[in-house]
């Protein structure tokens, strides 16, 4: 392979990216060396198995991916603002919408939510760590290496360009001969390993690691939503694993699952992809629902309305989410009976979701609402999500879908549910739990600026797209003509997109600003909140709880505070040594080998993939022979910690 085929050449945007990547790397290496932080990086972060630190790393990676996906989005908006624009050519545009979609779903939304789950859920259930701390580190590092593998495609070898759904035959070898599609397959495969492990890990954590006094029906709603999410992950991700593997076999080893020849069935890919893909939608929305429930309840200063209805509606969603996948391809022509069945199940699943909306409204009703930034995001979510949900029901009607399908109407719909659902929740959760992670709040004034600009921009960007869709603008086109008459609304959308970008930048600035100027936390409970994570001191000690807390109902911490107000004195119990797991370098090394194996397969360099896989197996063997039992935190150390806080 020639060097100019290995590196992507010929585009000034890419050269710019090359330079900035090189500068960032050099800068990071220089800074780590200059401040003598290599050892700190290795022993505090790269080898950590602490769920709080892993959560923070997930979130940092997700924010970086949000930036990358956002830049892709801005490039698309720039190209589409005016008719017949020449900013991007068709191929480049295809690459950008492919990476935008894939990154936002797989490498931004999921890790952001999983990051917050990592930080919050063990604290909410009174646990000192997750059930399998080592696997938790494997989860993070395989996600991270999968994301990096996918991301380097745009400077080395070329990006995938067949859309985030990678429909064949477009994604097949004949029409996508380059390595881009291989990056998609391998990057997602490696990251998927981590997601599956997270699913098992947190399911067992929530079921088995709760403080003994916390009953299932006393768990905070966010914990419940995480539990249901994990169930969906466990049963949905293996389907993706298989689908990706089959396409990889088609592309690398000449099998005929999805090919046009020798009996292959291209439409089988769509079917398998969406068997995973639809549950995936609930994987990224249920934790968001959980966060909004916590935030609304805290800032309305009321317990959540209809706790049981909330739980049961999520259980129903978990079952139904596996029975609706065909609505993503009604137009494939599976026949009247099939389309009717999936049309009905799709409308059914809107019912439990509707129940939740009413529960939030009734929680707000007669509440003494505090309009913090986190709460503003939650309040904006409700009306915006309803718009997305109602247009979703419109799309659920199979006959009508023949009109909406493949137009901007659909684009508007899923951005309304995914941005006002998932992204608002990520921001809300970040503002809400930021003090738990970093020991200071984010600035509220900047936060509100960022909120208003982003929400205004979001609606300005995506509301016109409904009308663009009804006016016939197809999705995934890289340009359109003057005569189509779509320009004015596209200009509006681009302007909205710009505002969203500004809102995001203000958020990033806020992180820096608050790091410098925000007062440090002293209480650990800055919002007068309700659940157990707020009972931990600031900063949260690495063992989380010196004494395991007691849960006497949901809103366990609120009940504790009420008891103290009524004069109950917290009893002084002696500390006992606390058992904690040891840090390990194996997960990060194993994931590096996964990266090497994946990179080798992308380029069909067999020696490299075999080397990588041997490395993976070797690290597994090392782990199998490792009988490290962790260590005990001594009573003196606990006393020291508890004194300072």
């Amino acid at each position: 392979m020639r060097l100019d085929e290995f590196f992507v050449t010929g585009d000034p945007l890419i050269y710019g990216a090359d330079v900035s990547i090189a500068l960032t790397l050099i800068g990071a290496i220089f800074a780590l060396t200059y401040f003598k932080k290599w050892k700190w990086l290795w022993s505090e972060w790269l080898t950590t198995v602490d769920h709080k630190k892993l959560g923070i790393m997930y979130i940092i990676a997700a924010v970086l991916m949000l930036f990358r996906g956002g830049v892709d989005a801005m490039l698309m908006r720039a190209q589409l603002t005016v008719p017949d624009a020449g900013f991007l050519d068709a191929k480049h545009y295809n690459e950008i919408f492919t990476t935008h979609g894939t990154i936002m779903i797989i490498f931004m939304a999921m890790p952001f939510l999983i990051g917050l789950i990592n930080v919050v859920v063990p604290l909410q259930i009174g646990a000192r760590d997750v059930a399998y701390p080592f696997l938790n580190a494997v989860s993070f590092w395989t996600f991270f290496m999968g994301a990096m593998l996918f991301n380097i495609s745009f400077v080395i070898g070329g990006s995938p360009s067949a859309g985030w759904t990678s429909y064949v035959p477009l994604a097949g070898l004949e029409l996508s001969p380059g390595v881009g599609q291989n990056y998609y397959l391998l990057g997602l495969q490696i990251a998927g390993i981590g997601t599956l492990l997270t699913g098992i890990n947190f399911l067992v954590t929530i079921l088995k690691m709760r403080v003994p006094s916390m009953k299932l029906m006393q768990m905070p709603i966010f914990t419940w939503s995480s539990l249901i999410t994990m169930v969906i992950i466990i049963f949905a991700f293996p389907v993706l694993t298989v689908a990706l593997a089959l396409m990889t076999f088609d592309r690398l080893f000449g099998s005929h699952f999805f090919t046009m020849m020798d009996g292959g069935m291209p439409m089988l890919w769509a079917n398998l992809f969406w068997i995973w893909g639809h549950p995936e939608v609930y994987i990224v929305i249920l934790p968001a629902f959980g966060m909004f429930s916590e935030i609304i309840s805290t800032f309305a200063r009321k317990t959540i309305f209809g706790y049981k209805a909330m739980v049961y509606s999520m259980v129903i969603i978990a079952g139904l989410s596996f029975l609706v996948w065909v609505h993503h391809f009604f137009t494939m022509g599976a026949g009247g009976a099939v389309n009717s069945f999936f049309s009905i199940t799709t409308m059914l699943i809107a019912v439990p979701t509707g129940v939740k909306i009413f529960n939030w409204l009734f929680t707000l009703y007669k509440g003494r609402i505090r309009f913090t930034t986190a709460m503003l995001w939650a309040l904006a979510f409700i009306p915006n999500f309803v718009i997305g949900g109602v247009t979703g029901v419109m799309l659920a009607m199979a006959a009508a879908d023949y009109q909406y399908h493949n137009t901007y109407f659909l684009v508007a719909h899923f951005h309304y549910v995914l941005i006002s659902g998932t992204v608002y929740a990520c921001f809300a959760g970040l503002y809400f739990w930021y003090p738990k992670m970093f020991n200071h709040r984010l600035n509220e004034r900047l936060g509100k600026w960022s909120f208003w600009i982003f929400v205004a921009g979001f609606n300005l960007c995506f509301f016109p797209m409904y009308f663009l869709g009804l006016a016939g603008m197809p999705r995934r086109v890289y340009t359109y003509g003057v005569a189509d008459g779509w320009m004015s609304m596209n200009v509006l959308a681009t302007f909205g997109g710009l505002l969203m970008g500004i809102g995001f930048l203000i958020l990033v600035y806020n992180i820096y600003y608050s790091f410098r100027y925000s007062p440090r936390e002293t209480t650990g409970d800055p919002w007068d909140a309700r659940t157990l994570e707020w009972s931990t001191p600031a900063p949260v000690p690495h063992y989380n709880f010196a004494h395991l807390p007691e849960a006497k109902g949901h809103d366990a911490f609120w009940i504790m505070k009420e008891e103290i107000k009524q004069g109950k004195k917290p009893e002084k119990k002696p500390y006992k040594p606390i058992h904690m797991p040891s840090y390990s370098g194996v997960p990060v090394v194993m994931s590096v080998f996964f990266f090497i194996a994946g990179f080798g397969m992308v380029f069909s360099w067999n020696w490299m993939s075999i080397l990588g896989l041997i490395g993976v197996l070797a690290t597994m063997v090392i782990r199998s022979f490792d009988y490290d039992k962790g260590f005990y935190v001594s009573v003196e150390e606990i006393e020291e910690h508890e004194k300072t806080t």
């Binding site: 890990n201 389907v239 005929h256 020798d262």
Partner: protein, 202 residues
Amino acid sequence: MEAVEHSPNTPLEYQTETGRLNILGFWIFLGAEIALFSTLFATYLVLVGRTADGPGPAELFEISGVLIETFLLLTSSFTCGLAIHYMRNHSLKGVFVWIGITLALGLGFLGFEIYEFVHYIHEGAALTTSAYWSAFFVLVGTHGAHVTLGIGWIILILIQLKQRGLTPDTSRKVFISSLYWHFLDVVWIFIFTAVYLYGMVM
């Protein structure tokens, strides 16, 4: 590990918190494996009959070979269960003997499967021949890869058993690997039914 209440009769593998958590986690992993194999079965069943110009299954499948494979794996599942029985009677020797037999049967199964695959390829049915054979080789091959991995894994555990004897940690590992081994036989039951029986009767 924190001291946990358990009766003296509780098997070693359930005596520690780690033991119980890992066994439960592995059951959940098996749930994910069921989803994985269902997807492969779904793919296979959709692609049945799509043999393009290549041979069909009825021409190539031979009942004797399939039955030998089936009974080797079924018996290995039985002997693996016996190994756990001996483990719970604290007989290290029993564990070694019966796991040894299990591994031998597993290797025998693999040998016959490899022979079968090679035979098909000679008869002009390979991964690249048609959609049907792609699905066949990937479904049955994924199972075979699981068996191979299982054999390697169990050998590692035997080494640890040799080094450390029966402890809560090693028994946990033996028990979990036994769950895995039984599960592979469960999958084979469905391969036997949906692939071989269906393919020959069709």
